[in-house]
């Protein structure tokens, strides 16, 4: 057993796992913080919606598409000056979080927009007829009704973030993906590769089943 895993430094694995979890947690927090309002604004200003704003929707939509069309590995490098400005460092976990957020927020916002579009227009009309303000319509009707869809969107986004963190090694952020590339691939340490891949797999499975459970819990249809 130990002979097979003789290249594996379990303490390094532990640190890498922590790095991955920190990057995931930190970037997920900010992605939801920025992506949810952005998704709501995209939804409201879209053509034929409550606050149709062709110009605003066009601009937001364009930026979202630009960010989404950049490969994450490029975004990571292009954003270095901005990252420095925000976190004071372009290295490590802190240096990885801004590009992770920038990469995942447009993706998440689009998914939120789609989830909100699934809400029955009749429900919005009924809420308007009750005399609700726009803010009340968003918080009392739209978001509660779209909750299962938004949770599903968060799950997909979290899993996408896990795969993005694998590239964060480029800026020295560490994490399981970085370990897999530097040791598993570049030094032909197959055992390290196997351990990191299994750990990533477990992480993704956990995220997916947690998300699915929450969706079922909040679905009343």
């Amino acid at each position: 057993m130990n002979a097979f895993f003789n290249n594996v430094d379990w303490y390094d694995i532990w640190l890498a796992t922590l790095d991955t979890l920190m990057m995931l947690g930190g970037s997920m927090l900010f992605t939801v913080l920025f992506g949810l309002p952005l998704g709501v604004i995209l939804f409201l200003t879209a053509p034929k919606q409550m606050f149709e704003q062709k110009a605003l929707y066009g601009i937001l939509s364009f930026f979202v598409n630009v960010l989404r069309s950049l490969p994450f590995i490029i975004l990571l490098i292009v954003m270095i000056p901005l990252t420095l400005l925000i976190t004071g460092t372009s290295l490590g976990v802190a240096g990885a979080i801004p590009p992770l957020v920038a990469g995942a927020t447009p993706f998440f916002a689009r998914l939120v927009e789609t989830a909100l579009r699934e809400v029955d227009k009749g429900i919005i009309e009924a809420t308007q007829a009750m005399g609700a303000s726009t803010w009340q319509i968003i918080t009392q009707a739209l978001l509660p009704e779209a909750r299962p869809g938004i949770i599903a969107a968060s799950t997909v986004t979290a899993i996408t973030l896990v795969s993005y963190t694998a590239m964060a090694g480029v800026v020295g952020a560490g994490g399981l993906g970085d370990l897999a590339i530097r040791f598993g691939y570049q030094r032909f340490q197959t055992d390290v590769m196997v351990v990191t891949v299994v750990l990533l797999l477990i992480l993704v499975q956990l995220l997916q089943s947690l998300g699915d459970r929450l969706v079922i819990h909040f679905s009343r249809k």
Binding site: G122, E125, A129, M130, A132, S133, K221
Partner: protein, 336 residues
Amino acid sequence: MIQFKHVHKAYKVGGREITALEPCDLQIPEGQIFGLIGHSGAGKSTLLRLINRLEEPTSGSIIVKDQDITALDAAALRRFRQGVGMIFQHFNLLSSKTVADNVAMPLKLANELSKTQIKERVHQLLERVGLTDHAQKYPAQLSGGQKQRVGIARALSTSPSILLCDEATSALDPQTTGQVLQLLNEINRELNLTIVLITHEMDVIRRICDQVAVMDAGRIVEQGTVSEVFLHPQHPTTRRFVYEDEHLDEQEQLKRFSQIAGCIIKLTFQGESTYSPLLGEVARQCGVDYSILNGRIDYIRDTPYGQLTLSLIGGNTVAALDAFRAADVTVEILRP
């Protein structure tokens, strides 16, 4: 009272202007059940939504209780809407909230009552619509009729003076439709609530409305009390609705009559005369024989009415017609 003064509504679709409602004047008296009937696309849904400004009029003014609602700003409009309930064909309940929370929603939005007061009011409303046992269920667990009753309880929660019904029974089976209409009828009387409803079924109008307006292609083509419009329809659209309700085809019927002898007439009885033994009396006095070709005895809201199509043979037909008219029966000669 709701009053439309020259209200006009047009949409712009790809640069072209499409009229949804031709300039329209309308008065809906307080405490009445007012029906709007028309085929889909006739503009009835637009007209209904103008009353709580879910649709903005292109021109004209809408006066509700001496207040021009077209002049209200956003905040005043929200307060106004809290005094106007609305129910929908597809119920439009929030699937993420329980029955009790759905009913409480307008009260929470209005933010005028305390939590305990809201709870009390919700209980009272659910009791009224007979759904106390289902308070903690979600809409998906209810039948269509139950969902609509939740919709009604929700619409009544802020004690509105007007209730707008958008095809409220069109998605329900006949038995459930009857129960929901019955409930609307009861709350109209109990609360002196003005109800404006739209439908494409003459049966709904006949069963609960006091007044009706018939719409066709964005215009009100006929309007009056239900008995006037229902028993003596003038406009072709109205006639079609009435015949549909009786499962009759006007042309088809005339064709069938061609093989029947005698003078063919249609008698319309209303109120007490519906149950008087008039046919036998007139037949004996004037020596005419009659055969009944078609007939219906029913109610318009609470007033009984009867419509009989007869062929009169032999005797003094002219005297018979006069005798019917003298008894306050409307006589229509279909074929002399």
